[in-house]
């Protein structure tokens, strides 16, 4: 059964390959093929993720969050497209999914034997919710890029554009809060304190949470058509990538199947 360990990263690379083919299809405007390849890519990423979780069960694989984020950005791309039938949204959130997946293929987080305290429901809840939240912030950042380009062309923002961004961020903030507090409960049950001063990752996560707390307060006081919200969403996406995504990835490494 140890072959599973060799397969889950290979299946992830297959997912990245399908995303790349989907991007090429989008460039030559084969929309149906683009959609099919992208959905197949997301299914491959999900399969890779399930293999990874199954292999480490009941413990939790360390540094698995970026893989979960790739899956959730993929799922959100499909969901947003099905809900709005808007190809523009598909292209931008799909692009961020492709970038994150390729980034992870060449800079995977090191996988150590998990420590025993990961055998906790709170650990899994933290991993799932905080990854979903980060995927929301990154997708909102990608949609913000689209809005900014449109805004520069038309000199006006449609209410619905900023509204989608704000709704995704609110969903992300709720998930982030649940994930962060679940992490706190896990830390308390495992080590006796809700904050573990061992790694800088939690500072980055807390920084991102306070950034979006600031965003929600700004949203309350400005009109939804104001570009400040769009620029803030873009800044949030970049900050999320730097402070709560990069720390979970590793050094540049060419995968074995390419060597």
């Amino acid at each position: 059964m140890s072959f599973i360990k060799d397969y889950f990263f290979t299946v992830f690379i297959v997912g990245g390959g399908l995303y790349t083919l989907s991007a090429i299809s989008a460039a030559v405007r084969f929309k149906k093929i683009r959609n099919i390849l992208f959905s197949a890519g997301t299914a491959a990423i999900l399969f890779s993720l399930l293999l990874r979780i199954y292999y480490y069960h009941p413990l939790m694989c360390l540094f698995q969050e970026p893989y979960i984020i790739s899956f959730f950005t993929g799922i959100m791309t499909v969901f947003l497209f099905l809900a709005s039938r808007n190809s523009g949204l598909f292209v931008y959130t799909g692009t961020i999914t492709l970038i994150l997946t390729l980034f992870l293929i060449f800079m995977p987080g090191d996988i150590y034997v998990s420590f025993r305290q990961t055998n906790s429901l709170f650990a899994h809840v933290y991993s799932f919710f905080s990854s979903f939240a980060r995927a929301c912030y990154l997708c909102a950042g990608a949609i913000a890029v689209r809005c900014i380009i449109k805004y520069r062309e038309a000199d006006t923002l449609r209410f619905s554009d900023n509204s989608i961004i704000a709704n995704i961020i609110i969903a992300g903030y709720c998930l982030h809060s649940i994930g962060m507090f679940s992490g706190g409960l896990w830390s308390y049950a495992g080590w006796g304190t809700p904050v573990q001063w061992q790694s800088h990752i939690f500072l980055g996560m807390a920084g991102v949470w306070f950034f979006y707390s600031w965003f929600l307060h700004v949203k309350l006081s400005v009109n939804n058509r104001k570009p400040v919200l769009t620029y803030a969403a873009l800044a949030g996406g970049i900050l999320t990538f730097i402070f709560s995504y990069l720390p979970d990835t590793g050094k540049f490494n060419i995968p074995g199947i390419f060597q």
């Binding site: 209410f159 619905s160 609110i170 409960l185 061992q198």
Partner: protein, 276 residues
């Protein structure tokens, strides 16, 4: 009365909150960078009280710790701002409550303030956690050798223990390892014995203390060393109930806030689509 009202309005203003949240974000990201340069200074925060840490590590390494001191100050200001803002808004909301008939609308109106209230509770929890209480680490217990519960005369002893071996077939690295353990601890106070079970991620509680299993031995059924010991982290802190209460209230507030946003978003989107 007017002066008090004015003070509450200024200290609880939204503009002040925005500046504070922006500043805290910046400080935390700066701290994250400093932390990567030298994290050894911050690890003692796991077992030292906050004031003790500030007096030692904090003031001795200001070049690396200044951001933490600024962070604490900003959090105190944010706590005051949130408290004043919540009081101010709640007074206004309650005066309008008679005109709102729907209970759902009333609850949705209160959602952000439930989050604000829980944030204050959480901050108080964190503060008492770091400022007060008993935190002791590396309390090693072996069967047949008793220890003392810190700060008391209660005798503590391992009565029994069980190890859970990885039962799966999939992961080669896990084969034979103990993925969990349980220790039955006896606490004897004035001749009265109480037995509690502690395990990984499942602390036991005795007279306000929480006893966490941080580590144990043997780690594997196949290992060379068979000596049984439990490494316990023992804490007594009023901050934990506050923290847990804050989490529960915050999550409730978050769900209500999300529900209210979905509902009002639907209406606004319809209106604006018609306009556009």
């Amino acid at each position: 009365m007017k002066i008090i009202r004015k003070t509450i309005e200024i200290s609880g203003s939204m503009t002040f909150a925005k500046y504070l949240l922006g500043a805290i974000t910046l400080v935390l990201f700066t701290g994250s960078l400093y932390y990567q340069i030298d994290n050894e200074i911050f690890i003692p925060l796991n077992y030292l009280g906050m004031f003790e840490w500030i007096n030692t590590f904090g003031f001795e390494n200001p070049a690396y710790t200044w951001w933490f001191l600024v962070f604490v100050l900003l959090m105190v200001l944010l706590g005051i701002n949130t408290f004043a803002c919540t009081i101010d808004r709640l007074l206004k909301i309650f005066s309008k409550f008679r005109n709102i008939k729907s209970i759902k609308s009333k609850i949705f109106l209160l959602a952000p303030h439930i989050m604000h209230f829980s944030f204050i509770v959480l901050m108080l929890g964190y503060f008492s956690l770091y400022a007060f209480g008993i935190n002791t680490y590396n309390n090693i217990l072996r069967p047949g050798i008793s220890g003392i519960l810190p700060g008391t005369e209660v005798k503590m002893e391992i009565k029994d223990h069980r190890f859970m071996i990885y039962s799966g077939e999939v992961n080669e690295n896990f084969k034979g390892i103990h993925i969990d353990a349980e220790f039955d601890l006896s606490f004897t106070d004035n001749g009265k014995e109480v037995i509690k079970t502690t395990g990984l991620n499942s602390p036991c509680f005795y007279k306000g203390y929480s006893i966490h299993l941080a580590d144990f031995n043997p780690k594997s059924a196949r290992g060379m060393t068979k000596t049984v010991w439990a490494n316990l982290t023992i804490r007594k802190n009023a901050g934990i109930p506050l923290f847990i209460a804050g989490v529960i209230i915050f999550v409730t507030g978050v769900f209500l806030y999300a529900a209210s946003t979905i509902e009002s978003g639907k209406d606004k989107l319809k209106d604006n689509r018609n306009k556009e």
